[in-house]
């Protein structure tokens, strides 16, 4: 049977090979608009940024200086603190995300029905309050006189917004803000992953006497492992880029003394400062490239090693 169909398709492709040529042209025409964008905003910036990071731009002069920008940036007094801040943020946020999202997803999945569906929707809605608006909402939520969580804040000794929005607390603050916004979406995705587990496996385990916790630990968790890894990798790649939250907070809030908070708390903010405050595009590019390389490596791992993007199986 297979040989018959293979021969038929060979004949067909032989017949079509003349037509295939014109197919290819049409395909390029269809894909061209997107490919232009890919070149301009996908590959272009990476190449342009990498190139620019090797030059020193003063006025309209451009001098090739090799890796001098990277060395200069490394020696900047703000460089190490910026990376430290970002890594601290990740150290708090990643476990919070991973454990939080997985635990909540498993808890929801124990019993499916209208309650769990409703809960999932409620957890997902704050995702609409993204970026700058969410910082504003959080500033309200952390002001004990205004916030519905006021009593809880008072109970842990916070009587004033300015006790919270100190640079020392930023890593925690951003971790909580970003978790609140992004957890809902990941919970929906985890739900998809859990739903793809054959119910026979779960039922078999239940029949064998496994408790719900054991089922979660030994059946469900291993089978959603790649979703968790995927979430983890994407979170790292996105997390090191953090910009909106610290910038917003710096712009909108202040220290209780009235001074500014931290214009170069994160690496991206530092790059922004280089580009716009110091007109040092070489330095800004160097910082961007550092972030890009890390994110790119993670992206490659996700694309090749998680098995989510198995395009081969879609090809015919």
């Amino acid at each position: 049977m297979e040989r018959l169909t293979r021969r038929a398709s060979n004949e067909r492709s032989a017949r079509d090979s003349g037509a295939k040529h014109s197919f290819a042209k049409v395909a390029y025409a269809f894909a061209l608009p997107y490919l232009l964008f890919l070149a301009a905003f996908g590959i272009g910036p990476a190449v342009f940024g990498a190139a620019l990071s090797l030059f020193k731009t003063t006025g309209s002069n451009r001098d090739f200086i090799g890796i001098a920008n990277y060395i200069k940036v490394l020696g900047d007094f703000r460089f190490v603190p910026a990376w430290t801040n970002v890594l601290t943020y990740l150290l708090i946020w990643l476990p919070l995300m991973t454990v939080g999202v997985v635990a909540i997803s498993l808890l929801l999945h124990v019993r499916l029905g209208r309650v769990s569906t409703l809960m999932r929707m409620i957890y997902y809605l704050p995702g609409a309050i993204a970026g700058s608006a969410s910082v504003l909402v959080w500033l309200f939520m952390l002001s004990p006189d205004v916030s519905p969580f006021g009593p809880a804040l008072n109970a842990i000794g916070i009587s004033d917004l300015y006790q919270v929005i100190r640079p020392a607390n930023f890593a925690w603050l951003f971790a909580v803000i970003v978790f609140t916004t992004s957890a809902g979406g990941w919970i929906v995705i985890m739900h998809g992953g859990l739903q793809s587990i054959p119910t026979e496996l779960i039922e078999a385990a239940a029949i064998d006497g496994a408790t719900e916790r054991q089922i979660a630990q030994y059946v469900k968790l291993p089978l959603i492992r790649r979703y968790v890894i995927y979430m983890f990798m994407l979170s790292v790649a996105g997390g090191i880029q953090i910009f909106v939250e610290p910038t917003m907070l710096n712009q909108v809030g202040s220290a209780s003394s009235g001074g500014s908070l931290s214009p170069w708390w994160s690496v991206n903010q530092l790059g922004f400062t280089y580009a716009f405050q110091q007109a040092d595009f070489g330095g800004a590019s160097a910082l961007s490239m550092e972030l890009l390389v890390v994110s790119l490596l993670l992206a490659l791992v996700v694309v090749f090693r998680t098995g989510f993007f198995d395009v081969a199986e879609l090809d015919r």
Partner: protein
């Protein structure tokens, strides 16, 4: 077998495993879930109610309460009167940027996804690979280099500087690729070709009318991403009249000094700021609520990006 991607396995109702929780654990579970719902739901509820109160009422009354319709009207008036109606301008800008981006992104994504799915041509694998990588990379990764690119071509501080980069939407191409690869029937196309249909007609008359769920999905993700974008417009736009809402409300809150220790502008107080945040998120919120079911289905059907 297309496995996980087959319509039946995704669309069919989940069969519920018959697992029982002991009574105590079941109650504990509901309590935890409800507490989480309060954590996530309360801020939203507060945000919707806050503009209806005065600044005094915000800090001296129950947080979850409705103020007065008249007060709501005043808040709206203050906010939209700020700086000669600048907030309305920001709203229009955001709508304009987002819809323009949407149009371009959906068109390019559908066409490219269609090409990748149904044709074989040189470089296809490479382009797909680049698309995947670009899709997984966070958007913020290239904003500074894109800014420098735009500066070089003199497009800084224009609408295009915000629209064009956002119209690059590899995730949309991926969605379209998966959709067309798994749901288009070769036979129908071959038959139409035999009848003398050109490729363009094929796409317009057969493929596109069947793509409406795809348009909805790609449109949704692109719309939400662009509407909320902050970093890109922050970097590209110098004139505050050109700001979109996310950037604008930051400037507003900063100028009003509402979260700063010190003197404040008289007209824009906390209810107005809350309203500004609400106006910014309302369209997205509405879309989220309205499209819940289709959205969840779409996310599960192969969109594994958060």
């Amino acid at each position: 077998m297309a496995g996980r991607l087959s319509r039946r396995s995704v669309w069919s109702r989940a069969r519920r495993p018959h697992v029982r929780l002991p009574g105590f654990a079941s109650i504990a579970r509901v309590i935890v879930l409800a507490a989480l719902a309060v954590y996530w739901g309360l801020p939203l509820l507060w945000l919707v109610l806050a503009p209806s109160k005065t600044n005094y009422q915000l800090s001296n009354g129950p947080p979850i309460s409705f103020g007065a319709v008249g007060q709501l009207y005043d808040t709206i008036r203050h906010l939209f009167g700020y700086n000669h109606g600048e907030v309305a301008q920001w709203l229009l800008n955001t709508a304009f940027y987002t819809l323009s981006t949407l149009l371009i992104a959906v068109t390019c994504s559908l066409l490219a996804g269609y090409a990748f799915a149904l044709f074989k041509f040189r470089g296809r694998r490479l382009f797909l690979f680049l698309t995947l990588v670009a899709m997984v990379l966070p958007d913020t990764a290239m904003i500074l280099p894109v800014f420098l690119e735009m500066k070089t071509v003199g497009l800084i501080n224009t609408a295009l500087s915000v629209i064009l980069p956002s119209a690059f939407f590899p995730f949309g191409v991926y969605l379209a690729y998966v959709y067309y690869a798994t749901s288009m029937s070769r036979e129908v196309f071959d038959a139409a070709r035999v009848d003398g249909c050109s490729e363009v007609q094929l796409f317009l008359r057969i493929a596109f009318p069947l793509s409406l769920p795809l348009v909805g999905l790609v449109g949704f993700f692109n719309f939400v991403g662009t509407w909320n974008s902050y970093f890109l417009p922050y970097v590209m736009l110098a004139d505050d009249a050109k700001y979109n809402l996310p950037v604008g409300i930051g400037a507003l809150a900063s100028g009003a000094g509402v979260f700063r220790a010190g003197p404040v502008l008289t007209d824009i107080l906390r209810p107005e700021i809350a309203l500004a945040a609400l106006v910014t998120v309302l369209p997205i919120l509405v879309i989220f609520l309205v499209s819940q079911r289709t959205l969840v289905r779409g996310i599960l059907a192969g969109a594994t990006k958060g």
